[in-house]
């Protein structure tokens, strides 16, 4: 008789390692997949995500590019149109602005303008967000900007599990997909249930259930928000934390279900407040669930400044768990 099987122990790995394993899986699974970007090969990637891949897969599939964001993103678009499955890495979201023309004017418009003759199955990965003291040209969160654009899929994995499996899902999608990896998450460790081999890209997930207030967030702010929820719990307030996971398409249904349950909502987003994805979420709630609310909608966003270098200033410009908790508490127990 066989001994009863122990459930397999969870895999513990860093977010960076999860990103790398996803890339390795993609490269092994499909010969049409190749990587392009600045310093992804010999250097190993500026955040070391692609370290070792050049040795494993060779120069044909791990391609170091010149510092020409527009050209290599455009090359990714052309290659995708002509039958390949390129994965392009852009060092940071600020640099992606040099390729914004290609992303918006080509990747997004060509499937539509060609009347569906050409798809652009391109994945672009980039680092986003603040917290590393690298000031105003390397620290912004522009994923919400990109979420403005119809035709793009915008993924913001926060959990290690999503970093590990969202890429695989994105490669199956015939549309251009941008994956935003928050710089403060790369060193974070997390557990993956070995039974999980894939994730969906469309649904927000409740990461912590609660009945008193909904905290809606994504990416780098998720863990600050979960921390805020623990603080609130000590005050007797049970917050529900919704991880959006994708900013486009936006899973309005999950947001509304949570808000209808808790009747109070704080949206946490480290991007600038004006014209932001936080504003979009707030407006959708106002349109769809206004009469379900027991308190005004609130936002905790990044301060509207170019990111300062000094540590105390940068910290003051990013949503922090104290401020998130305070905003939530104020809704539940107005002073």
């Amino acid at each position: 008789m066989n001994a009863p099987q122990e459930p397999p122990s969870p895999l513990r790995l860093t977010y960076r390692e999860a990103c790398k394993q996803a890339l390795r899986q993609a490269l092994h699974a499909d010969p049409r997949v190749f990587l392009m970007g600045e310093d992804i090969g010999r250097y190993g990637g500026c955040y070391a995500v692609t370290k070792g891949l050049l040795e494993e897969f060779g120069e044909d599939r791990i391609r170091d590019t010149p510092l020409s964001e527009s050209a290599f993103v455009g090359a990714g678009i052309g290659a995708a149109m002509a039958g390949m499955r390129p994965i392009v890495e852009i060092m940071t979201v600020n640099f992606s602005l040099l390729a914004l023309d290609q992303i918006l004017n080509n990747a997004v418009t060509i499937p539509y303008m060609s009347g569906g003759q050409f798809a652009v199955p391109l994945v672009i990965r980039m680092a986003t967000g603040g917290g590393r003291r690298v000031a105003a040209q390397h620290s912004h969160s522009l994923e919400g900007w990109y979420a403005h654009i119809p035709g793009l899929r915008i993924l913001t994995p926060a959990m290690v599990e999503d970093a590990r499996f969202m890429l695989i899902a994105a490669l199956k999608d015939p549309n251009p997909t941008l994956i935003f990896e928050h710089v403060m998450l790369y060193n974070m460790e997390g557990d993956i249930d070995p039974a999980i081999t894939c994730v969906d890209m469309d649904q927000a997930k409740v990461r912590r259930a609660g009945a008193d207030v909904s905290l809606i967030t994504y990416g780098g702010s998720l863990f600050k928000t979960l921390d805020a929820a623990e603080r609130l719990s000590k005050e007797g307030v049970e917050a529900e934390v919704v991880d959006l996971r994708a900013l486009r398409p936006l899973d309005t249904k999950t947001i509304l279900e949570s808000v209808v349950k808790t009747r109070r909502c704080v949206i946490i987003d480290e991007a600038w407040r004006s014209g932001s994805i936080a504003a979009e979420i707030g407006m959708r709630i106002a349109e769809e669930a206004f009469f379900e609310l027991d308190a005004p909608l609130r936002r905790v966003c990044g301060r509207e400044v170019p990111m300062p270098y000094a540590a105390h200033l940068e910290d003051a410009c990013l949503p922090q768990s104290e401020a998130i908790a305070a905003a939530a508490l104020d809704l539940v127990r107005p002073s």
Partner: protein
Amino acid sequence: MTHKVHLDHDHLRHLLKAMIRIRRFEAKCVELYQAQKILGFLHLYDGEEAVSVGVMEALEPQDAVIATYREHGQALARGVDPGCLMGEMLGKLNGCCRGRGGSMHFFHREHRFYGGNAIVGGGLPLALGVALADKMQGRRAVTACFFGDGAAEEGEFHETLNFAKLWRLPILFICENNLYAMGMAVERAEADTDFVHKASSYRIEGERVDGMDVVAVESAARKAIEKIRATSDPFFLECRTYRFRAHSMFDAQLYRSKEEVEAWRKKGPIVRFQAWLEENHLIKPGEVLEMEKAIDAEVARAVAFAEAGPLEPVSDVERFVTMEDIPA
């Protein structure tokens, strides 16, 4: 005299006919524009026909084309059916892009026509990707990448040339130098007006050719493509040409004189080639007239096809914003 251009009667006649087809097709477009059946922008290729016709002659079906927003001629010369192009001009469902793109955005999958592009220089990086995909998938194809002199003012031009040489991509760069980027004369915009020289600074071999001479263009393109296929290195062709008409339909042409336009018209690709054929008895008397009649009938059929085409239902307007699958 030229590189493997077959100067037999059939081929010469074919070249002339291809240029006249573009000229007549566009003349009809102007009429339809004035009748407000074609809307938006309309950038005519009038004067530049020899460039596309010459280059396309040197391409094979497996080759790819990246075009500009002045791409009516590029598409016709590539062999795209005039009916579906006219349908596109009229915004009809039977247009090559269902009326989604219009005059500046012709795409045609079967002809590997990767689009007109209305962002100056915007098509150049796409050429890198198409050529790279072909190379990685073992297809012996060349990507013909058309752009104007104005594109060389954009960073994407320089990024792309550097890339193409560095990665040894089989791209034929065709600079349609018509001397003006909209109203900006080339010498007012370029510190170095020698485009072949610019290419050479990226160590890309190039040649300047009289873009008003269809045989010279074809010959240069054949030579270039032969070289590209043999070496997988890019090649740069600067075709000196001239646009006889306004930049688009809203252009008072304050930036150039009538005399200048007239002088160039005398050197026009059709009038000159036709005269040469006649002088050398390479075309029979009355043959051009016959040709024009046949083309007019072809254009009339294209217009009738387009006019009869249905409009895409508004309920489909969001279709293809996101694709459900990748077209095979």
